[in-house]
């Protein structure tokens, strides 16, 4: 009896700490280090710029860029919203399609045999190079950019989900088999939760891929957005605008990444690996 009550006490103790851990600490711990880094970086930059180590026409002083933010706020906002819309839309479309495809592939041997090699090979195609083609097909503007982002974020999620959906221990499948579970139940109860750590690993990678590919696609196929702003401002030597656009793009990327990480923490129990058991 005493051995049992010892185990009980340990269990409740651990369960309490597990319950309080995820919510409070995470956002601060997530935001503080990068914030400190940015402050240090700006300090270094001000010094380099003031002493003339880096010429002004390459890197303007921080205050010039700050001034740009204040003066050109509406323009930056307009382009930032356009890029954010494209990146987030592409991020969602690409990942949702990837997840659905991975589920279909892992449940149909024929589909997998037919398309999986193709899916792997197509990963080697430089998607950005298709932007001009997509512009011809979809017209100039946001649709080709969203298409490029969708295709670019598709592969990490697809490949990881293929692995994740097959990652559950065979013991769980046997257990569900003896319970006469349907395939759908098996997916919902075991395979889907088991794949979530894999999915989030992919989402963290593709959060930055989404913005990078959106910016590059905008160079080629758009008439608004931060990528477009970068090209235009560099052509007119409006360096503060160029730098402001880059900073905004970086902040937006971090924002999307933060949302993914916070979501992962909220789903903490589901996204923990089975090795925990």
């Amino acid at each position: 009896m005493s051995s049992l009550s010892l185990a009980d006490a340990g269990a409740t103790e651990r369960s309490e700490s597990a319950r309080t851990r995820p919510q409070i600490n995470v956002p601060l711990g997530l935001i503080l280090p990068p914030a400190l880094f940015v402050i240090a970086l700006v300090g270094l930059w001000a010094v380099l710029s003031a002493t003339g180590v880096i010429p002004r026409y390459i890197l303007p002083a921080p205050d010039a860029i700050l001034n740009e933010f204040i003066r050109n706020y509406p323009v930056l906002t307009k382009h930032a919203l356009a890029t954010m819309g494209e990146a987030v839309a592409g991020f969602l479309i690409g990942n949702i399609v990837a997840v659905v495809m991975a589920i279909l592939f892992s449940y149909s041997g024929l589909l997998k045999d037919a398309f999986y090699p193709f899916a792997l090979i197509s990963r080697a195609i430089p998607i950005i190079a298709f932007t001009p083609l997509l512009v011809i097909v979809l017209g100039r503007g946001q649709p080709p950019v969203i298409a490029v982002v969708s295709i670019a974020v598709y592969f990490p999620a697809f490949l990881n989900m293929m692995r994740g959906l097959a990652s559950a221990d065979v013991d769980y499948h046997e257990m569900l088999h003896t319970l006469s579970a349907s395939r759908w139940q098996r997916l919902r109860i075991v395979d889907w939760p088991a794949s979530l750590p894999y999915l989030f690993a992919a989402l963290k990678v593709s959060a930055s891929i989404a913005f990078i590919s959106a910016l590059v696609a905008e160079w080629i196929g758009a008439n608004q957005g931060l990528g477009y702003l970068v090209v235009i401002s560099s052509q007119y030597f409006k360096l503060p605008t160029l730098w402001a656009a880059i900073i905004v793009a970086a902040v937006l990327t971090l924002l999307l990444l933060a949302i993914v990480v916070i979501l992962e923490r909220l789903l903490h129990r589901w996204t923990a690996t089975a090795a925990e058991l």
Binding site: A11, Y172, H177
Partner: protein
């Protein structure tokens, strides 16, 4: 029950299992026959690789035998599985790590399509029966191995199975916890009047939990001996001190390892001890 009780137990008749891999043929099981009447308790005991788990997995409809017949309550394992008349408890508790204990215990009824309120009630009953009350909201990783195994038994019990198939359910536990759970399982078996087939490699566990112990030998896997345990179903911890318990232990040990005294000269005591 009446006429159905005649074939209502677990039946294995001349079951064989042959694996073919290219030109290599491995006979895992041959000519296994065993009858466990409804409400009876039986164990399969043997060294690793003797096919005892395979025999259990045939009854649980996880694998199909290459020859012979297996019946669960008079019907094929597949039919029994669809009708949900048996429950399997394996060595790994197979608690889903992302589900709390209550949700894990509810799983069997959830899969069976039982509505939320009813399955919650059954799960809470089962959790209480296995002595896990208060841990409904804990995650499996927060429990000890023994407690997780109790939860796995609770999950099996929610299905009100007529047959409990257990594959070394306490194999990963220490001796003290194992024995404690052995006697708790006895209590549960009496309360539920389920038929038990237990795979184990522990002689004492087999005696505590069985009317019949089938001893298996490897290469090819077969049932080599059968020992009837005459303790009835009213068993307490005191049975361990019964001289008959020691006699059964010796009988099973001989069945497993061969009769030590006849195989070796009695005047040579060391090997006889070494065999134990």
């Amino acid at each position: 029950m009446g006429s159905s009780s005649r074939s209502g137990g677990l039946t294995i008749r001349d079951v064989g299992m042959v694996y073919r891999r290219r030109d290599q043929v491995t006979t895992a099981l041959t000519g296994c026959t065993l009858d466990i009447p409804e409400g009876g308790w039986a164990s399969l005991i043997g060294a690793s690789g003797c096919g005892k788990s395979t025999l259990l997995r045939i009854l649980a409809d996880i694998v199909k035998p290459t020859s012979g017949v297996a019946l669960v309550g008079g019907v094929s394992p597949a039919e029994a599985r669809s009708a949900r008349t048996f429950a399997l408890v394996s060595q790994q508790s197979t608690m889903l790590p992302w589900r709390k204990i209550l949700a894990n215990v509810e799983l069997g009824l959830e899969v069976a399509g039982v509505d939320k309120a009813a399955r919650r009630r059954s799960a809470e009953e089962a959790i209480e029966l296995v002595g896990l009350k208060g841990f409904e909201q804990a995650f499996p990783s927060e429990l000890s191995g023994g407690m997780r195994q109790r939860a796995a038994i609770a999950r099996a019990l929610t299905l009100k199975p007529r047959f409990l198939l257990m594959d070394e359910p306490f194999g990963a536990l220490d001796e003290i916890t194992r024995e404690k759970l052995n006697f708790e399982l006895l209590r549960i078996l009496k309360e539920t009047s389920a038929t038990l087939l237990l795979v184990t490699h522990s002689i004492s566990e087999a005696i505590i939990l069985s009317d019949t112990v089938a001893v298996m030998s490897p290469r090819p896997g077969r049932i080599s001996h059968r020992v009837e345990i005459g303790f009835g179903h009213d068993r307490t911890n005191a049975m361990r001190d019964d001289p008959a318990f020691g006699a059964y232990e010796a009988e099973l040990r001989h069945a497993l390892h061969g009769p030590a005294s006849s195989a070796r000269p009695a005047s040579h005591p060391i090997p006889a001890f070494a065999i134990h």
